[in-house]
């Protein structure tokens, strides 16, 4: 069972990202789950989304998980919320920030000794898609860090999922995914 927790602000596309990831993985015959914690809070409020992936049918519906990966797609959340909650020794972190990994760990001592990767998903999204929607770049970074799928296969799959969007936006997302894939450290 692979478990992922997303830290995001409402409106940044974590739910869409989690569902998109689940959709891609599902096409490879694995079983998936994508869900989120919602409250009545509106755009801008901190929220979490989740993925589960397994070879077996997923029965577990508890929201509690010890994630294998933590995605943080908003740079401020690593400071304002505890992104390490319910962690395990092997938990990997992919964090959106303009800082270097070292500087980030210095700024947030809770990350010390953990496997932390950084990438500026917001910057990439702004420069490619033109809007600060960091969900698809995060998935590009995840492909690099996890080595889960070949990046070309992943991009092709995401093209299908983004299918209803204008071509220009789909193309920009592809560039964003590739850039995050290349730039994550």
């Amino acid at each position: 069972m692979l478990e992922i927790r997303w830290h995001s602000r409402a409106g940044q596309g974590a739910v869409t990202g989690a569902k998109g990831l689940a959709d891609v993985i599902s096409t490879t015959g694995k079983h998936v789950q994508a869900f989120a914690f919602y409250g009545s809070a509106k755009r801008g409020a901190a929220m979490t989304a989740y993925n589960r992936v397994d070879d077996q049918v997923i029965m577990n519906h508890e929201k509690y998980m010890k994630p294998d990966y933590v995605f943080v797609i908003d740079p401020a959340l690593v400071m304002t919320t505890d992104v390490t909650i319910n962690h395990k020794d092997t938990t990997k972190y992919i964090i959106t920030t303009h800082m270097s990994t070292d500087d980030l760990v210095k700024a947030q001592p809770k990350l010390e000794g953990k496997e932390v990767y950084t990438v500026d998903c917001i910057g990439i999204a702004n420069e490619t898609i033109g809007r600060p929607i960091p969900n698809t770049p995060m998935l590009g970074a995840f492909m690099k860090v996890s080595g889960m799928y070949d990046i070309e296969f992943f991009k092709e799959s995401m093209k299908r999922i983004l299918g209803k969007l204008p071509q220009k936006i789909i193309d920009a997302n592809m560039i964003a995914i590739q850039r995050a894939y290349d730039e994550v450290k």
């Binding site: 689940a22 096409t27 994508a34 519906h61």
Partner: protein, 407 residues
């Protein structure tokens, strides 16, 4: 205008709401009369969008309240066509008057109920308070534990509800957010297969048959009311149950997916078991398997059909069990939980020594963790070993503060 069919993949990743919307589309529902409420809204939004994109023909009436939503459904159903809507929680509370009218008038309607807590305090998350509130409203109630089942049970619900021997509206329950907003793999039927299974709507006593004017919604007093209610109950007990069984069988033939009014998991030799509904059934199944690895013969019973209540099946299922827990996801309001009571009723005259305890859990979307369930199974095993209940009969789990236990 001819509507377009939709090409679906063998496995789609849908949340429970979208699965329901797809089922409504494939059933080619004629009228959806609805009012939005979290977490059920995406179901009717889905129908509206399918209509906007020419994937379904029908009327979508976005009314001004849930009460009007069901009023419109009743008028549309009486007129003679396929009708569906969706609601949750407070919306259901506002709508509840008309639920009794729909069932009393024997009008087939499918209501997707995305289970959510009832205020106060206001809460949008999943528990079963709304499901419990209308349990005696005369509607058939199905319960889905995941998005696949939401999809399947919607198709089943139309076929059962519209059958001329049944003509009783049906609710398809799913857990708010935990199912409604959780995307999982769903194996849909093709549009033709799905519509073929549900079947074309066959009108009965339809107002729009101008050659046979009908009066729906009469007044009765002491002189007639009891007979009409008795008939309604009799039909629920005698016609609806076999029709559900028959439809489950037909669905299995088509898809290989077998539904039962009572779902039994690892129950053949179970010493201890939990009875629950919604997503909890699946989480409990996983924990039961883990308990078995630790030597505790644990099983899980899921209530697939809450109404008509599977009275005999429950007592049969629990016959050899030593200790069983009823898990109620609804504030009991000064009583034992509904499932506790229904199960107690099913067992009281059965030849069994099973020890029954009740747990109140998960209110307002509070997580039911695997750890909770491990503790619970251990508690049941202790009861089984002792041959008597060692705790109070009713306990609250997963709530902050001093332990709550009663009865």
């Amino acid at each position: 205008m001819v509507f377009d069919k939709m090409e679906l993949r063998e496995v789609e990743v849908w949340d429970g709401n979208f699965a329901a919307a797809q089922a409504l589309r494939q059933a080619q529902v004629d009228v959806v009369s609805a009012y939005p409420i979290t977490p059920s809204t995406p179901i009717v939004e889905g129908y509206a969008k399918f209509k906007a994109d020419n994937y379904v023909e029908g009327e979508f009436v976005m009314v001004e309240s849930e009460h009007a939503a069901m009023s419109g459904c009743i008028g549309a159903a009486a007129a003679g066509g396929r009708v569906a809507t969706a609601t949750s929680s407070q919306g259901l509370a506002l709508m509840s008057e008309t639920l009794y009218q729909a069932s009393g008038m024997r009008l087939p309607i499918v209501l997707n109920m995305v289970n959510r807590a009832l205020a106060a305090p206001l809460n949008v998350n999943g528990d079963h308070s709304d499901m419990y509130m209308v349990r005696d409203s005369g509607w058939i109630q199905f319960d889905a534990f995941n998005p696949q089942e939401v999809y399947d049970l919607n198709l089943i619900a139309f076929r059962v509800s519209e059958d001329h021997s049944v003509r009783t509206p049906a609710i398809v329950n799913q857990d708010g957010f935990m199912t409604s907003h959780t995307a999982q793999g769903v194996r849909p039927l093709t549009d033709d297969e799905a519509y073929g299974f549900v079947g074309a709507y066959k009108p009965m006593n339809d107002m729009l048959d101008f050659e046979h004017p009908v009066t729906h919604g009469v007044q009765t007093e002491e002189d007639w009311h009891f007979e009409h209610k008795a008939r309604q109950h009799n039909d629920m007990m005698t016609y609806v149950v076999p029709k559900i069984e028959e439809t489950f069988e037909a669905f299995e033939k088509l898809t290989g997916r077998k539904y039962n009014r009572v779902e039994k998991y690892d129950m053949e030799d179970a010493d201890v078991a939990v009875v629950c509904m919604g997503t909890s059934v699946e989480t409990a199944r996983e924990v039961a398997k883990e308990m078995r690895e630790k030597g505790i013969k644990a099983g899980v019973v899921g209530i697939r059909v809450l109404r008509p209540f599977p009275f005999a099946e429950i007592s049969e299922t629990l016959k050899g069990v030593k200790a069983v827990a009823a898990l109620d996801r609804s504030a009991p309001g000064g009583a034992a939980g509904m499932l506790f009571n229904e199960i107690a009723g099913s067992l009281i005259n059965a030849d069994t020594k099973v020890i029954l305890s009740g747990y109140i859990y998960g209110l307002g979307g509070r997580d039911l963790t695997k750890a909770h369930l491990v503790d619970l199974f251990n508690e049941l095993q202790a009861n089984a070993d002792a041959g008597k209940i060692l705790t109070k009969q009713q306990q609250f789990i997963g709530v902050r503060g001093p332990k709550l236990a009663y009865l």
